[in-house]
Point group: C2
Chain length 194, copies 2
């Protein structure tokens, strides 16, 4: 049986996107967002949804840039804090003891201790009401060596990158593999006689 | 040690978004996408990135509508097939034996067997190059009772909603809880004396 839940806008899974900016005084700041995702593959781009009331909103527009940093379990509490506090009142990097590093390619800081950092240049936006969806073109990605497997490919499980479950309001570790992509569906191609 | 990976646009985690449309002949079709996410909370909206070459692209524009359906492990192979085949040559619902149901609120079919279905009206788009990012406003959500916990809240783990790991090219089950959101970060608020 299906049950209508009305218009709640939940998806699973959600990433934990810790977005770094410089504020108008040049202070590094970061905000944690869960609404966003990959937006294009060429050029590579990422979407993030930000409420206009948040302190990071004008910082993103002013610099035309932001970073996206993915936390591992070790940084889960700091990532949570970045979401529930505001850079208007709080120097979040000082409180957490984390290290902002000036981006090499854009005017925004990335977080040294986080295993995955993306530098983005703002290339588009859509005003959707409660949130504005910003799209950033990826200018560079840096990964900790902890995050790479023996073949040099990213292994999110190795660094225990966390995800956000907005329905149960919990963070989760990467889950177990249940099938190969671009592969387990081939059984239907055979069935189709193609 | 951090290593630059250039401009690869990977995030973790990615959802498995099976997007339903009617084609120009009124045939139900579906495509599996991993680039997308929640785009706003009010009104609730979801982004999906679609290559203009895909058969679903013009169907979304024609109807101004699409559905987003989240698969459980049971539908993982079908979801994979929806991504690697094209509605130009293949009647994907017939091949997989899944059931398209006409949306109640928009001109697009949802998938009966999938535990979570969202009906969306197209409200915005951004042409980003390889992909166009479509934004759909949520008009209704339907969930299988398998997906609801004792309090009526969504429990993605209960229905084993799958996720996509684009780096290792595998599907994953929901991972274990590692912390409470809007909670584990409070330790830094105490530390700050606030």
């Amino acid at each position: 049986m299906k049950k209508s839940l009305g218009t709640q806008g939940l998806l699973f899974p959600n990433p934990v996107l810790v977005v770094g900016t410089y504020d108008k005084h040049g202070e590094p700041n970061a905000i944690t967002l869960a609404w966003g995702g990959v937006a294009s593959s060429g050029p590579e781009a990422i979407s993030i949804a930000v409420r206009p009331s948040r302190y990071s909103f004008e910082a993103i527009l002013r610099a035309g840039a932001f970073t996206v940093n993915l936390p591992s379990i070790e940084q889960a509490a700091a990532a949570d804090f970045f979401g529930i506090s505001s850079g208007r009142q709080t120097r979040k990097f000082e409180v957490t003891g984390l290290t902002p590093v000036r981006g090499e390619f854009v005017d925004a800081p990335y977080i040294a201790e986080f295993p995955y950092n993306i530098e983005c240049r703002l290339v588009g936006s859509l005003d959707l009401g409660a949130h504005t969806l910003f799209v950033g073109e990826v200018k560079d990605v840096k990964a900790s060596e902890d995050l790479l497997d023996a073949h040099g490919a990213l292994d999110w499980e190795k660094a225990a990158i966390i995800t956000f479950d907005s329905a149960q309001r919990v963070y989760r570790a990467p889950g177990q593999e249940v099938g190969k992509a671009f592969s387990i569906g081939r059984r239907f191609i055979a069935a189709d006689g193609a």
